[in-house]
Amino acid sequence: MASNDQASDVATYAATVRAQLADLPAMERDVLLEDLEQHLAEVAAEGEGSLVDRLGPPEDYAVELRAAYRAGRQTTQTTQTTQTTQTNQRTQTNGAYLAESVRAAAHRVIDSDWARQVVAFLPELRPAWWVLRGYLAALILTAAFSRDYPLGPIPNPATKRGLAEILAAGVAIWLSVRIGRRSRKLPQGPRVLAISANVLIAFVALAVLGNMHTFAYSELIGTATPEQAPFNAAYAAGPLTNIYPYSQDGKPLTNVLLYDQDGRPITVEQSEAQTIYPTGADGKAITNAYPLTQRHMNGDPVVAPRVAFPPWPTPSPSASPSPSPSPTR
């Protein structure tokens, strides 16, 4: 309701001012009055009472506006001309010119609308920092009081301990926001102290977060090296019936003897194919020389499967052409 009143008040006031300045040249009038409504709305939003009470009659406002706009016009133009002359004088020495262009470039960044908008927006992010600060403070305390506790970004709410941590974080956030809202205007000394405390919290939190075992990290440990998993687990999808060893440069090897950690020969499961083991000098079959020679039931020899070789860190130029992915891909 109040804002509706304000809006109509602004519109009426602005319309009267515009009418009073109708005789100005169109371009001047546009420049001068372009933001009038917006400006009056700002004024109206920051105080009690109607615009007439606070700014006087719109007719007087228009007279003052006209005077203010007309007053400095000549002065400003003179100032500009003098500036140009000065700039020309400065460009005469190279060093000064360089310094001037660096300064101008820096100012172009600082003066750019986006830089100003970013700077103007930053204070809006203060409450976000208050919340984050409370959370980080709770995290730092948890880390400080429990050495070997597996610290996570969000505690498990199903455990008593996790629930307590979440509650503690809630209290810390509440406190932090409370402090933030109260310390709007500090004198110089306490202000420096407060800023230092904030920076300290951020740095300590960085150290704590650096040591944190995140979910992604523990998952990585579990799945990083599937090739090294035990045979049974790794080949749960199907029986392991043969092993095809290759040298580093991709050449197929024959009669490679495999033993496990206890020195026992590694054997594989029997498949539908018939395996022909070589016989040793002692008359016993050698069952762990790979790849095994196997024949299908119909008599066809079992052929080696197509394999993809891993790309080595430094591929040797002598490596035979292989289906390994090239490092440039």
Partner: protein, 117 residues
């Protein structure tokens, strides 16, 4: 308006540009805030229309940048800030003002001294 107020208003007209530039050199600001800061500095009689008109003129002359900042409490605010040209104009006007006020103070002191004799 008292005679003193009229005097202040008349004198202020010439230096309002300088005053507004000085306020903006301190920090970017929107129209009503400029008025408030001028009044807080002791320029009690500065009019809102004068400041708004001066801001628009300085903006038109290329001495100011302007951008809009959304506000969740009220209307969006149009902020003004000095650019390179504005800073140069401020430096120059400040020098002019310094020499002018020095000369004028000298004159006024001379007058009060001769009165004293």
């Amino acid at each position: 308006m008292s005679q003193a107020e009229v005097d202040t208003t008349q004198l202020l007209k010439g230096v309002l540009d300088l005053a507004v530039l000085a306020v903006l050199a301190d920090a970017d600001s929107y129209g009503y805030d400029v008025v408030r800061r001028l009044r807080e500095s002791g320029l009690d009689h500065v009019g809102d229309a004068s400041v708004y008109g001066t801001l628009r003129r300085l903006y038109q002359a290329g001495a100011l940048n302007s951008y809009v900042v959304p506000s969740d409490e009220g209307p969006h605010r149009k902020y003004y800030g000095l650019n390179n040209r504005g800073r140069k104009a401020l430096d120059q006007s400040a020098q002019t003002w310094a020499s002018l006020s020095k000369a004028l103070n000298h004159l006024l002191n001379g007058r009060s001294n001769s009165h004293g004799k």
